[in-house]
Amino acid sequence: MSLPPPSLRARITALTAATAVLAAVAVGYTVAAADGDGREPVSAAVPGLTLDQAPGLYHAARKGEVRSAPYSPSDGGKADGARSRDTGLSCDRFHASGRSAVCIARRPGPAQKAKVSVLDRELDTRRTVVVGGIPNRARVSPSGRMVAWTLFVSGDSYASSSFSTRSGILDTRTGYLIKNVETLQLYIEGRRYHAPDVNYWGITFADDDNRFYATVATKGKTYLVEGDMKTWKARTLRQNAECPSLSPDGTRIAFKKRVREGSQDPWRLHVLDLGTMRETPLAETRSVDDQAAWLDDSTLAYALPGRTRGTSDVWTVPAGTSATPPRLILNDASSPSMVQGGG
């Protein structure tokens, strides 16, 4: 260095100028990014819009607004996104079935909180539960009585990028709330099992509102479990079957199976026949990280990442061995569920 170091005053001046520039950049970018469409998670539906009045494919659109698009799985073709109706709800996850619907919306703020709203067919809020975590899965039982959800929670382990799951169940008829299903008595391959690293996710109910299926993970392995609400017990059915979804006729379970080690394209959708316990891979060969939804007894819907970063599209695939390829039915959508008109 041949030049004498700049004087203290010069350095302070230069730094103040630099700070002003950086502050301007920071504030300017933030203001520009706030493009005015700051949608607060609202759970008040548009007055008058009910599930019966707007049957179709319910989904969460790009900014989280829940819409209903006219669609019929048997007709084929795409869902009519242009004629979809806005329910006024804003949710990260949404599912409607039977006489209820559930909406999970993240609440802004440093504490990771989310609000689970249980709605009736008139889309009026019947019950809200505030839970901690990032919304991941939401399901309503076929009758609409049982509502289940899963959230990601970080902080169970110190590495801030590792997660565990918190799954909860609400019985809307009795009002009984289970905030954490890890109290289940778990039987792995017939033996009672205890471990602190047990995680449950992806709960799906049968139409008796008692039997349910879920994924449990412990010590690096995942299992499909069948649970019983009355006895509060769960037993494993098989390994490597995640995010189960029970078909409307109750005979088959759609799930994602880990077919590849590593983090690139690990999953493949399969359907398990509960009678024969045989797995069938579906025609969708891409990796699907979603709890598939049965639109009817022969069609499954799921979300895949869309072309733009952060978006997803809804695709359908026949639930069995079929030559029919998967079909894109709706752009910029997630959380699909089929609602029929009438009661």
Binding site: M1, L8, R11, A14, L15, A18, T19, L22, A23, V25, A26, Y29, T30, V31, A33, A34, D35, D37, G38, R39, D92, R106, P108, G109, P110, A111, Q112, K113, V130, V131, G132, G133, I134, P135, N136, L151, F152, V153, S154, G155, D156, S157, Y158, A159, S160, S161, S162, F163, R166, A195, P196, D197, G262, S263, P266, D289, P305, R309, G310, S312
Partner: protein
Amino acid sequence: MYLAVGRARPPDGPVPTGAPSPARPAGRRRLTGTVVALGAVSLVTDISSEMVTAVLPLYLVLGLGLSPLQFGFLDGLYNGVTAFVRLAGGHAADRWQRHRLVAGSGYALSTLCKLGLLLAGSSTPALSAALAADRVGKGVRTAPRDALISLNCDERDLGRAFGVHRAMDTTGAMLGPLVAFAVLWAAVDAYDAVFVVSFCFGLLGVLILFAFVPGRESASARAPGTAAATLGQTLRLFRVPAFRRILVTATLLGLAGVGDGFLYLVLQKRLALDAAYFPLLPLGSAAVYLLLAVPLGRAADRIGRRVPYLLGHVALLGVYVVLFSPVAGWPLTVLVLVLHGAFYAATDGVLMALGGPVVPADRRAGGMALLQTGQGVGRLLASVGFGAAWTLWGMDSALALAAVALGAVLVLARVLLPADPVSVTAREPS
């Protein structure tokens, strides 16, 4: 602002005793501007990095739609890299005698990674590369930075200097998440804005470093004409008895620990805490750490650094005992967080103040890197061990085991640690 010119810098060999030190002004001594500047750099940089840490889970899972599997898998791989990088950074700073440059490049690398995260999009390899580079930057800069603090400060003020630095560091760490959530509140779901603001803070930190912390122009730590410290000479630090004892003690105490993550986990389970409040527990400890860092650092200067260092670990032992006891609810939370924060305040900076003086100035960064790595590796193994003990024998047994181990090591440490910091100016290294 004045630069403290303490005792004559020792060359890396036997040194004459009784080197005269300049007359000290009576009464309170002012803290070096350099130390305050380094504290400011850490404050601003920690705001930058904690902003990103706070929103990273949200960003990856909700913003990008990734599954935790995709990045958690690779995240664990990089823990081992940090130790090596820290040693490399310390040694490089010593060898070239350019502590500021090495530290600055570490800060700059971490700052660039914020932009890297923005540009990486959803690509898992790119994201993990950005996170890895961030970690490398963090590792490279810690030892040179701590060496800078110790070299720019009179030996008698080391405790207070490190206390001030750690306090400012923790302030930044606490402000970070608040700034992040303020940005997200102002611009809903705009994670790119968070990364840009974080980048601006990081860049500001680098600028403060180069503007206000003296670089090569300051008094060089080695006498002109002597060779730069080679790796072999740095490793020969193990032959300095005082240094060896401090290193072994720090490693053993690290091994007898439990790891922050598990500590909070046990606390959560005892409190049956709602998942939403998990992130607030470390904030509690950090607040206590912040308040106690400077007073305890000063105390370390007055009564010797050994005592606070040991007492800090007694506080940690207290945490285990309290977690074991029937105390519950608010008293439990307050006791654990206060004791845990006090543990950090009494040990984190104090270890550097303890170890600094026994390492010759031209190997300071390497020596400090060794201390940090020893402690870090000890803690890492302790975490793994505690996790295994928990899985095998249950939470209570594992905690009891940890408490017994820590108690035993504390007794040993009292014997191991040198009676007072043996400065290189007073005794020849053997």
